[in-house]
């Protein structure tokens, strides 16, 4: 019987290990997933509701009048739009903060999708109806609609006078805001881990439906270890390992937990 050899990711060559780690981290964007789902749906395949092709603005009235009820697709679109609105408010909060990165795009009209040129080139060209349907924030489940609570929390933090904002923002813009926040959290790890903790907590509050949960939790655990709060760090590390048994962060967590 041949035993499985040690994988290169765990082997001694750091460069190869890093290359394989980078390969493992490749996954399609949400937009790509949506596009694949749309094409499957067009071929008559049932796809998960959170990836289901949304209705365009022009289709909404027809959907409402022909069925007499709100379709699941429309519910999904509305849920997504709700999360997007909360996220936009969160962005406003960040922009009011000193040193906060200004990544949000300027105000846009309700029907004109805003394309953030600073965002990664991940999004297919916008088309009619995108303004309503595109802000597909990750992991919005029909069974778990966004709550209103974060909105109240965010608005209370909102600063001075917020400019009028469009009701809809591209998901990429919101994602970029969160990324900037997490970058700041990560860069603060070496100098002031307590700041890192505060920043990831803020990210957690403002982006509860985040795609970057692993990154956020990894930074939090790292900060806790660096602050010497080992028991708390170990508890969260165990939970992280249970939730993400294939995470590329596990080797780094190994090093952190075995450190002084």
């Amino acid at each position: 019987m041949i035993a499985d050899p040690k994988r290169l990711f765990d082997a001694d060559d750091p460069e190869l290990s890093a290359a394989i780690g980078a390969a493992r981290r490749r996954v399609p964007t949400r937009d790509r997933m949506n596009a694949i789902a749309s094409r499957l749906a067009a071929a008559g395949v049932a796809v998960p509701p959170e990836f289901r092709p949304e209705l365009s603005a022009s289709e909404v009235p027809a959907a409402l009048t022909t069925s007499g009820a709100v379709s699941k697709g429309l519910v999904a679109a509305l849920a997504v739009a709700g999360v997007a609105l909360v996220g936009v408010l969160a962005v406003i909060g960040f922009r009011a903060e000193p040193n906060a990165p200004s990544t949000a795009s300027p105000v846009a009209g309700p029907t004109a999708p805003v394309v953030d040129s600073a965002a990664p080139a991940l999004v297919p060209p916008p088309h009619a109806g995108d303004a309503v349907t595109k802000p597909a924030l990750p992991s919005v489940e029909l069974a778990d609609p966004p709550e209103a609570a974060p909105r109240a929390e965010v608005t209370s933090n909102s600063a001075p006078v917020a400019p009028p904002v469009a009701a809809r923002k591209p998901a990429d813009t919101l994602a970029q805001s969160e990324i900037e926040l997490l970058k700041r959290a990560r860069s603060a790890l070496s100098s002031d881990p307590s700041v890192s903790l505060q920043l990831v907590e803020r990210a957690r509050q403002h982006f509860p439906q985040s795609s970057f949960g692993q990154e956020r939790e990894f930074i939090a655990i790292s900060a806790l270890y660096k602050l010497g709060r080992r028991s708390e760090a170990a508890t969260r590390e165990r939970a992280f390992r249970d939730r993400h048994p294939r995470s590329a962060y596990l080797p780094q967590l190994d090093r952190l937990s075995s450190g002084p």
Partner: protein
């Protein structure tokens, strides 16, 4: 009494719903297709093709070893892709896929370059060795699972993996030495 292997324990004989497969496995299938040589411009199409096959064949699936079954479909689609006329050799650097690494979003440029270098190394491998390397090192299948997915004997998979590792290792060593 039948003793189940580790992989069988991981994949209990329960036939999943297609939506569940889509949700849980599409990112990994998409990634595997890239590793298997489907170029970035075509990977969405190839992934759609895999999922259509999955949808069509799911009623026949015996409920065991789901990942192995899915990757076997991936391998066939990638193989058909390579044989198709539309495939042209591409420079991996040009094909950095517009992927969103959910937990690698903050990755450094170095990390991306390493990944591109890995793709370059894989370009020179024959498809069987490439598949062994990608499925074992990136997708983390066991040798036995790869053997089942490819239909090749375990010893053959082992040999392919070792050959692929040697090739990739040499490629990276050569890169370190520079031109």
């Amino acid at each position: 009494m039948t003793v189940l292997s580790a992989s069988e324990h991981r994949d209990p004989p329960v036939r999943p719903d297609f939506t569940e497969v889509f949700r849980e496995h599409t990112p990994y299938l998409w990634r595997a297709l890239l590793g298997l040589g489907v170029r970035s411009a075509d990977v969405d199409d190839a992934c759609q093709e895999v999922l259509l096959v999955v949808h069509r064949k799911l009623p026949e699936f015996d409920g065991r070893a789901l990942r192995t079954w899915l990757y076997a479909i991936c391998l066939r689609v990638a193989s058909d892709y390579r044989r198709s006329a539309r495939v042209r050799r591409e420079v991996p650097v040009e094909s950095v896929p517009d992927s969103a690494a959910t937990y690698g979003v903050l990755e450094t440029v170095d990390s991306k370059e390493l990944w591109v270098e890995l793709l370059r190394a894989l370009e020179d491998l024959d498809p069987d060795k490439r598949a062994a390397f990608v499925l074992y090192e990136v997708e983390e299948l066991s040798l036995r699972e790869i053997s089942e997915a490819t239909g090749a004997p375990l010893q053959t998979i082992y040999s392919r993996l070792q050959a692929a590792r040697a090739h990739v290792g040499q490629h990276f060593k050569a890169q370190r030495r520079g031109p």
